[in-house]
């Protein structure tokens, strides 16, 4: 980065006529900027590439490559496309002015020029250019910080999926833009029981990431193995209520007994699980009573719903970033499509099945980027 400051900004003056160049030089000396000169287009491009000036005043009619061509080449080069160009020309036809501006110049001054006018315009464009650079650098800083947050967040997720006797697992997790609010976790419980948590902190970026990290910390600090879904959800809420206002976290916690193929489900504002029954080849949203999301108000009690699975049944826990994924027409992917995908490919492995689901979601979105995080956890009973 060149990091030019006010007072040390540089301006490149380009004119093939030495007298014009001298007048221009004298006019702009008072700005306090460093002045560079070029008498033809080739030299101008060479100096621009080397010195990265903050502004270029460019004559149009010159021997060799003319000003229009110089401007075109500057704008074609990503390293120099950001340098503002002001045309300074005796061509006063409107179509020349329009052509110059269409090529990406920021201004057009007719010759003979008024020195005060040139100074005023130069100062204006230097200020705009400086502010633009500052905004870009702040944006870079913010994006870097979000990337750091995003990295930390990914490290909070389980590194590997556990090997479970009787249940094959796969997971898909993607954030929409850097840090996100989605979270999943798995707890090993006694007697081949397993706890699966999927949560979604409202919003995106840093605030959602903080809520997600809080949820993770609370889940992992639960004083005993979290085998009772209602108690765990009650506990998470009790603590998140102290910090979440006015945000909230939706959560679904499922305890699976892999020896008996039974489920216990607690739901706080989160979409219910989807279950595919291999016996009737049909997937449904498994209706379960719930409470409102975590972090709003204390619960009186948290209902728990039970279910039983059979070999080859599938269970899908997901966040609404999947079903609320938009396509270019503003339509959402929806629960129905997800249910149909969950029924497809009998006999497939969970990884293949999830890949097929995400492929279908991406096909549906048809190039429209996700504006929410997407997390899916799929289990297939052996």
């Amino acid at each position: 980065m060149t990091g030019n400051n006010m007072g040390t900004e540089s301006i490149l003056l380009v004119d093939d006529n030495p007298t014009n160049l001298q007048v221009l030089y004298q006019t702009l000396e008072s700005t306090g900027c460093k002045l560079l000169v070029a008498k033809d287009g080739e030299t101008a491009l060479a100096i621009a590439a080397k010195a990265s000036p903050d502004l270029i005043l460019l004559d149009i009619m010159m021997p060799g490559i003319d000003g229009f061509e110089v401007c075109r080449r500057l704008k074609d080069d990503p390293a120099q496309a950001g340098i503002p160009v002001i045309f300074l020309s005796a061509l006063t036809d409107t179509k020349d002015k329009v052509r110059g501006l269409q090529l990406g110049a920021v201004d057009y001054v007719s010759k003979p020029f008024q020195p005060d006018e040139v100074i005023a315009r130069v100062n204006t464009h230097l200020t705009i250019h400086r502010l633009k650079r500052e905004v870009e650098s702040k944006k870079d800083e913010l994006e870097n910080e979000l990337e750091v947050v995003s990295d930390v967040q990914r490290r909070l997720l389980p590194k590997n999926l556990p090997e479970i006797a009787g249940l094959k697992l796969a997971v898909h997790y993607e954030t929409s833009l850097y840090a996100g609010g989605d979270y999943y976790d798995i707890a090993k419980l006694p007697d081949n029981q397993w706890g699966f948590l999927v949560a979604d902190a409202e919003g995106h970026s840093a605030p959602a990431a903080v809520m997600m990290a809080m949820t993770c910390a609370l889940f992992r600090s639960y004083p005993e193995p979290p085998a009772e879904p209602g108690d765990l959800v009650y506990f998470l809420n009790q603590h998140l209520c102290k910090v979440a206002d006015p945000s909230f976290v939706t959560a679904l916690y499922v305890v699976y007994d892999a020896n008996h193929h039974t489920l216990k489900i607690a739901r706080a504002g989160h979409p219910p699980p989807m279950i595919y029954r291999s016996s009737d080849k049909k997937a449904i949203e498994y209706t379960c009573d719930g409470v409102f999301p975590l972090g709003i108000d204390p619960y009186e009690q948290v209902p728990v719903t039970e279910a039983e699975l059979q070999p080859d049944d599938r269970i899908l826990l997901y966040t609404d970033g999947v079903t609320e994924r938009f396509n270019k027409d503003g339509k959402t992917y929806g629960e129905e499509r997800l249910l149909r995908q969950l029924e497809a490919n009998p006999g497939s492995q969970p990884q293949e099945q999830l890949a097929a689901i995400m492929k279908d979601v991406d096909n549906f979105a048809n190039g429209r980027l996700a504006d929410d995080d997407q997390a899916l956890l799929l289990g297939i009973v052996e």
């Binding site: 409202e202 919003g203 206002d245 006015p246 739901r267 504002g269 719930g290 409470v291 409102f292 504006d371």
Partner: protein, 111 residues
């Protein structure tokens, strides 16, 4: 997203038209915060023309509900379409924020 507001017989009416999501939530929040500078303690959201509600929209509604609770006021959401109603029910918000089928019944509920 269009937001209309009026005050009649001590009730502040806010009508939402379009989508209440991450993009429009800040504008909705600003409108509501302006209203909260006053002393109104009866608030009615008219959702007849609300097409879509996301979790960011739920947060806006939750913020309004909490503020009305703080000032011991009354708050109701009216005329939700079936999609918005489903979002409300699945998310469990129906248990903490009252819903009325129509604006007329909403007015009765908070009068």
């Amino acid at each position: 997203m269009e937001i209309d507001q009026k005050e009649e017989n001590g009730i502040v009416f806010i009508a939402f038209k379009g989508r209440l999501d991450g993009t429009s939530a800040p504008e909705a929040e600003e409108t509501i915060n302006t209203i909260f500078k006053g002393e109104s303690n009866r608030l009615l959201f008219d959702f007849e023309f609300l097409e879509y509600l996301s979790s960011a929209g739920l947060r806006v509604i939750l913020g309004a509900a909490k503020e009305m609770k703080r000032r011991d006021g009354k708050f109701v959401l009216c005329a939700l379409n079936s999609y918005v109603k489903e979002v409300f029910e699945v998310s469990g918000f129906g248990a903490i924020i009252p819903i009325a089928d129509s604006v007329e019944s909403g007015i009765k509920e908070i009068s």
